[in-house]
């Protein structure tokens, strides 16, 4: 009977899981049937009641702390990933080498003579004869990793793909897209904090560019050098009001940065948005229990300047 079908499907209806035709039929039936309408009402009430256990947004504190902890975990995991990155299993590779003992020597000769991402076929029989691609001098190229090694089954043909890197130079102005891309890359990836500082410094001249802003946010969050973080923070400060993502990143810095200079600066830069609920919550927490006396008192001052509407 129709009512039975409707009662079986009212749950799916409430969850918006019914296909359009079924939904239409159900709604048609409800228009004519008080019993089933009552059933729908009960189901909806039950649903509403379940939200007495509401899904809460994780606090900015929790998000920041989780991200930091993950970062540490990733650093440790990184070491174990070296072989993974090369996409080959060294044990299996060694097994192949056993069938062609001259191969090991041949590979390294081939490597230093190579260009970028070149594939070589090495035919190993009585001696290795190497068919090679373009050759450039060893000083200009070095191997960053071996990408893959495969051996044609039943033959001595081996194919090796490897990557090399060579130093190049780019020149241009800050408006040059290529220059911007390299600056963004340097800000994130360079091991030398001096280079990172230089790139962030240049990038702060263009914070309106979305990519640049994201790189600055990244630097504020993750750079290990407090000088770099401070530089990025100061540039982002102007956007705290207009861009909620910037506000959140600065809030994150205020909560968990290890450097007190960065934290006090972040606090100062958040003043224009101190009335925002997330900022206010953090200020209350800081005013109550922060270890740093200056931050505690500053937070209190900022809170006292807020309009009363609680």
């Amino acid at each position: 009977m129709k009512c039975e079908w409707v009662k079986d499907n009212v749950l799916l209806y409430v969850y918006n899981e019914l296909p359009d035709d079924a939904r239409y039929e159900l709604e048609q039936h409800l228009a004519r049937c008080t019993d089933c309408t009552a059933e729908l009402k009960t189901t909806r009430k039950f649903h509403a009641m379940l939200s007495e256990l509401p899904v809460e947004e994780p606090s900015p504190n929790l998000v920041a702390a989780s991200r930091m902890r993950l970062q540490e975990g990733l650093e440790t995991a990184e070491q174990g990933r070296f072989w993974h990155r090369l996409i080959f299993d060294p044990a299996a590779w060694l097994r192949q080498v056993r069938f062609a003992p001259a191969l090991a020597a041949a590979i390294f000769i081939v490597g230093f003579a190579g260009g970028i991402a070149t594939t070589y076929k090495v035919v190993s029989d009585k001696g290795a004869s190497i068919a090679s691609g373009p050759v450039s001098s060893p000083a200009e190229s070095s191997i960053t990793g071996i990408q893959s090694i495969s051996q044609d089954p039943g033959s001595n043909h081996i194919s090796i793909k490897y990557n090399t890197v060579s130093t190049q130079e780019a020149q241009g102005s800050l408006n040059d897209q290529r220059i911007q891309q390299l600056l963004l890359f340097a800000a994130r990836n360079n091991y030398n904090s001096g280079v990172r500082m230089d790139s962030v410094d240049l990038l702060t001249q263009e914070p309106n560019n979305t990519h640049v802003r994201e790189a600055l946010m990244y630097a504020l969050r993750y750079d290990s050098n407090p000088g770099v973080r401070l530089k990025a923070l100061d540039s982002l400060g102007a956007f705290v009001k207009s861009d909620p993502r910037v506000r959140d990143v600065v809030l994150e810095a205020l909560i968990q940065d290890s450097n007190p200079g960065v934290r006090t600066d972040a606090l100062r830069l958040l003043d224009p948005v101190r009335a925002d609920s997330s900022v206010r919550t953090v200020l209350q927490e800081l005013a109550r229990s922060d270890q740093n006396q200056y931050i505690r008192s500053q937070a209190r001052i900022m809170l006292s300047q807020l309009p009363e509407f609680d």
Partner: protein, 201 residues
Amino acid sequence: MRGLMAGQASRIDDTLLVREAQRGNRAAFEELVRSYDQAVLRLALHLTGSEHEAQDVYQEAFLKAYKSIGNFRFECSFYTWIYRIVTNLCLDHLRKRQVRKEDAPVATDATGEQYDVLDQVPDGRSGANPERNLMSRELGKRISHALEKLTPRERMVFELKHYHGLKLRTVGEVLNTTEETAKNTLFRATQKLRGALADMR
């Protein structure tokens, strides 16, 4: 340079980020994490009721993703893949909790009612709604208890569908089963919950 510039990465869709992450680009992986981590925390937080445990689930989930991203073959969306990892960890967590409860010491409260000493009660979280009154928190507690009576799978299906709005089809994919099975599990879970909460108005 052939590699993706980190600054552009956030605008490009998941596919390219995943490929980069598979090549060992940690910045790309971190970018991916940032698209999903609040949703993951939200799920873990609501399910476990504890910030501490939510953080543990988060940590395990993303480390696992990082270590096994090389095995991701794009046969499903990255979204589904991540949710699958998190869900499996949540299921483990729920099973462990069940086992503990079976041996859990039982005590009697002021009204003479028995309760489990190890009960997970939603804790007071920072940034939570201070407006929620005592009554509402009591109801929340009872719902929490009722949810604990479900089997881990039932709880998971209900959680994903009701509290996080995933389509039943996705729920099926995430749990490595069919949409039909997910649907039936949802029905069972709802029936049980209605029974357990029947006297609540």
